[in-house]
């Protein structure tokens, strides 16, 4: 069994990031878009952990950053879902294309 190196993990992280981007740009459902954002955030977390483990194994900075990002992501999700609920109340839909009139 091969010990996974830094590059393996970075590959997964990059893949996760671009899947997230793809999802964010193509989905019309706001919940799905929110989930895509979570994927992007998690790819970033993965990067922090990987660099911490392989480049500076004797330090904890990356770990803590990750913990903070998870906390903030939770808050952000709460806010985003609140927005979505309000949008649904006014538009009877959570399709992003129906929310174009918000630009006014």
């Amino acid at each position: 069994m091969i010990e996974p190196g830094l590059y393996h993990i970075l590959f997964i992280s990059a893949a996760l990031f671009f899947i997230g981007i793809y999802g964010f740009l193509t989905r019309r459902n706001l919940i799905t878009m929110l989930m895509s954002i979570e994927l992007i955030l998690n790819s970033v977390n993965l990067n922090f952990i990987a660099f911490n483990k392989y480049v500076w194994p004797d330090k904890m900075d990356g770990l803590f950053f990750t913990l903070f990002i998870i906390a903030i992501a939770a808050a952000e999700a709460a806010v985003a879902i609140a927005i979505i609920i309000n949008l649904y109340r006014s538009h009877q839909s959570i399709d992003v294309e129906n929310a174009e009139d918000l630009k006014y």
């Binding site: 981007i21 964010f24 740009l25 193509t26 878009m33 992003v96 294309e97 929310a99 174009e100 009139d101 918000l102 630009k103 006014y104």
Partner: protein, 644 residues
């Protein structure tokens, strides 16, 4: 010594009246506004008379000559050391004389208007305007600084504009007020440039210093100013000529006289005050004020002044013989008489016996103010009675308006130069001055004096004799005590003012000038005057067809004079055809296409750009995300590959 407070109060009281009646008159003082204005002016007049008495008989004369006093001088705006606009009071024989004339005539008009303007909707406004005018005119005559005179000069222009346009619902009055303002304003442009040139060459705006520096040929100022020339004339000559243009505009001298006859659209007492006795002589006053400069430094300009005055005098007299609107006849007569004052200054020299023209001019100004104001107020009484300005609607009024008739006759005799009325003395002096200095002008003046007698008596006979008057049930008579009192007082002035030994008080250098009376010299003008009167008597005493026959016989000349020598038409041609087409239209084109075009270009560009970038803000969240992503990629590329 003069008391500054007393003298300052003379112009300030009418100003107070203007502010009081202008601010509160319409609402709170509607019926009493006339009395308030009149009371303030009465105080002013008493103070003016007191000042005149003190000046002429108590402190004015030092070492046998009347001196200049400046009891008050406040710096209002200082440009640099020595060059400042001051607000001051200047007392010398002519300013004191004008003080009396302006306040007295203004008082007469105030009293007269109590009757004449009774029941007008804007009674209080009328009196506040009269106050403004009186304040400005008194400030003008007292000015100690050439810029101060300019400020008050414009103020009298404004008040004249307001009062001509008093009946603002009448289109002709509105047009006349605009015409008066624009023509005089145009002339004032020359005045302003003249002030700038004179003050630049003398380095001061103060009258006393300016005259001192510009009249001594050895002074540095004169030497420098004479060297700098333009079109063959020195800077000083140009400056003096431009100042005179301002004076000519205000005094309705040919060819800037076109506004004066139209100005008769204003209420008649206003015409008496502004367009006969006071404001229109401001030009004469200005020339007299700067007389040493004109006479000693720029005699060429004085020559021009003489000719402009003489030409105006005769042209106006000829036109006056053919008009039928009584106020217009009086307006042309005013212009003719001011022409007399102008050329009297023009033929005068500075100092001693040769300065007779100066004294005569001021004397004529004084007597003219009396009898011309009387003529206008008399005409006002007639118009008040008949409700028409046209001579052809009048006739046979001597029984219906006895007081007006007698006073009007006195004024006519005075202006015609019949002894012993006031006009005789002043006109004799003017003619004598012209005779001694310029024969051509003397002949013009002599013919004019005959014409004057003719047209004034043409007016008199047409109003009071001619055909019998048909009564159309006029409700009122002559207009009560307030309208009769000024007529009588002015008639006394017109009859007796000539006996004042004027040369004692007013002369070009302040020393007493004894006027010599030559009986043989008086024969020609008095004879011509009487001839004019008898010609008018023969033609107009009874209604007949002789005037028509005479007019037909004169043909072209009569027509030209009837149409005022087509001067208005020439102005219209120049302004409408030449100026509008050659300057106005190209300027309008430039404005519409180039100036507006630039503004529109800015607007259109902004709009086009914003239309273009509007599409970026689509409201599609995912589109924004793509832009954002593209931006991140670009920045990442930059940071990784370029800015490393």
């Amino acid at each position: 010594m003069p008391n500054a407070t007393t003298i300052a109060l003379i112009p300030l009281l009418p100003l107070a009246g203007f502010l009081l009646l202008g601010l509160f008159g319409r609402k709170y003082l509607k019926s009493s506004s006339g009395l308030i204005g009149t009371a303030l002016l009465l105080t002013s007049t008493i103070l003016a008379l007191y000042t005149a008495y003190e000046y002429f008989f108590v402190y004015g004369k030092v070492n046998g000559a009347y001196q200049q006093f400046i009891p008050l001088q406040l710096t209002w705006l200082e440009f640099s050391k020595g060059v400042s606009i001051d607000m001051g009071l200047l007392l010398d024989p002519i300013s004191v004389m004008m003080l009396v004339v302006v306040s007295f005539i203004s008082l007469m008009v105030h009293i007269y208007s109590l009757g004449y303007m009774k029941g007008e909707e804007r009674f209080a406004t009328y009196y506040s305007f009269l106050g403004l005018f009186t304040f400005s005119m008194l400030g003008l005559v007292l000015a100690s600084n050439i810029f101060q005179i300019y400020i008050f000069w414009e103020l009298v222009g404004v008040s004249s504009f307001l009062l001509i346009g008093y009946y603002y619902d009448k289109p002709s009055a509105v047009a006349a007020s605009k015409k008066a303002f624009i023509v005089t304003r145009f002339a004032d442009l020359g005045f302003l440039i003249g002030i700038l040139i004179l003050s630049f060459s003398s380095g001061t705006l103060d009258f006393t210093t300016l005259i001192q520096r510009l009249t001594s040929p050895e002074s540095n100022e004169v030497k420098t100013a004479v060297v700098s020339t333009f079109l063959g004339a020195s800077a000083l000559t140009w400056g003096a000529a431009l100042v005179f243009i301002g004076g000519a505009g205000k005094s309705a001298m040919f060819p800037l006289h076109i506004w004066l006859p139209d100005a008769m659209e204003g209420p008649t007492p206003v015409s008496a005050l502004i367009h006969a006795a006071t404001m229109v002589v401001a030009g004469v006053y200005l020339v007299a004020r700067l007389f040493p400069v004109f006479a000693l430094t720029t005699p060429a300009v004085l020559e021009i002044i003489g000719w402009v005055g003489a030409i105006s005098a005769i042209i106006a007299a000829v036109i006056a013989c053919t008009q039928t609107d009584i106020k217009r006849i009086l307006a042309y007569s005013t212009m003719s008489q001011i022409g007399y004052m102008m050329f009297a200054l023009g033929v005068s020299k500075y100092g001693g016996e040769a300065g007779l023209g100066y004294t005569a001019s001021m004397f004529h100004l004084f007597t003219h103010a009396m009898f011309k104001a009387l003529l206008f107020l008399g005409a006002g009484a007639v118009i008040h009675y008949i409700h028409s300005n046209d001579m052809r609607d009048m006739g046979g009024l001597r029984k219906y308006l006895p007081v007006t008739h007698i006073t009007f006759l006195i004024a006519c005799l005075a202006i015609a130069g019949v002894p012993p009325f006031a006009g005789f003395f002043s006109k004799e002096e003017i003619l004598l001055a012209a005779y001694q200095n310029n024969m051509a002008i003397y002949w013009i003046a002599l013919i004019t004096s005959g014409l004057t007698a003719f047209y004034m008596f043409r007016l008199y006979f047409n109003i009071f004799w001619s055909k019998p008057h048909e009564v159309h049930g006029e409700k009122h008579g002559e207009g009560g005590f307030v309208m009769m009192l000024p007529l009588v007082l002015l008639a006394v002035g017109a009859a007796a003012a000539g006996f004042i030994p004027f040369g004692e008080f007013v002369s070009s250098d302040g020393k007493a000038l004894v006027s010599h009376f030559h009986l043989e010299f008086s024969i020609a003008p008095v004879g011509l005057g009487l001839a004019g009167i008898f010609a008018a008597l023969w033609l107009y005493k009874k209604q007949n067809d002789k005037p028509q026959k005479l007019a037909a016989a004169l043909g072209g000349l009569y027509n030209a004079a009837y149409h005022k020598f087509y001067i208005d038409e020439i102005y219209f041609f120049i302004t409408k055809k030449v100026l509008f087409n050659l300057i106005g239209r190209p300027a309008a084109w430039f404005d519409r296409n180039i100036v507006d075009g630039m503004v529109n270009l800015t607007g259109n560009t902004t709009q086009a750009v914003s239309e273009g970038i509007k599409k970026i803000q689509s409201g599609k969240v995912q589109q924004y995300a793509i832009y954002f992503l593209a931006g991140v990629i670009v920045l990442a590329t930059l940071f990784i590959y370029v800015l490393r």
